[in-house]
Symmetry: C2
Subunit: 155 residues, 2 copies
């Protein structure tokens, strides 16, 4: 009925596996792209934004270890190292050793990073809202519940 011009997927054919799988891929791609474009004007990316948000909102004053950040964002340690290298070069975060365990590097958001985050934040939330508001409220409710359930089931 409704050729999506992508992957040859057509809706309403009863192939739920494929529809769910490719639907996820398509929506993810579009939304990720929109968010990237929004963040670009702040010199930020989704990955950097996620890191800053997790450290500031979940690490607070004490900060978080690199491993902990990576675990929460489902990002590998090696990726974390290089992402933080860049954020450090841009002076958005600070790294310091943890007393009592020389292996650990504790990461905190710098004041410059905090400012950048505050600047980007309202539009970030607004962008998130605008992409989800393309569905009605009951639909948003249903889809969000199912996605979180799906995620939990996948573990």
């Amino acid at each position: 009925m409704d050729d999506l011009q992508a992957f040859g997927i057509e809706a309403g054919k009863g192939k739920y596996h494929e529809e769910a799988f490719y639907g996820l891929l398509l929506v993810y791609t579009v939304i990720f792209d929109r968010m990237s474009r929004y963040l670009d004007r702040f010199g930020l990316t989704p990955a950097k934004m996620n890191v800053l948000m997790v450290i500031k909102h979940q690490g607070g004053e004490q900060g978080l270890s690199q491993r902990e950040i990576g675990r929460r964002l489902m990002v590998t340690p090696s990726n974390m190292t290089r992402l933080l290298d860049k954020l450090e070069r841009e002076k958005l975060i600070e790294r310091s050793g943890r007393l009592g365990d020389k292996r650990v590097k504790v990461v905190r958001v710098s004041s410059k990073g905090s400012q950048a985050l505050d600047q980007a934040w309202p539009g970030y939330m607004q962008t998130m809202k605008s992409v989800t508001d393309t569905l009605s409220l009951p639909e948003q409710k249903t889809v969000s519940a199912l996605l979180l359930k799906w995620f939990r089931a996948l573990n």
Copy 2:
């Protein structure tokens, strides 16, 4: 209630925008990872698999231009060039000029590529099924319909 240990998202808080947004991200990440691991044993990746599938199933004998493949997979021309460079080096596809328009390169799946695709295909579909079967059939039906609707609404 149920801390997902990621992004600090908790289900059932009524913040549907965030739940839908991060739920999408989380599910996508896990599923993409599973599919990557499955395809790895065939020397394939999701990107390569998608290219081979689109050319074979939608291009058939005549093949498709690089642009056309990119359009269907929502991939930029530059990315397409390099992806096809690799697939050509691996002899899974063939490129030839189109008569009457020297700019266009027509891409076809080679017999080796066709074989690889046939080998990977059943398990590919099975993996797709196994990740979506973590939801009940009515849930799959609902989520796939909503995702496709969401994608269409985002255009």
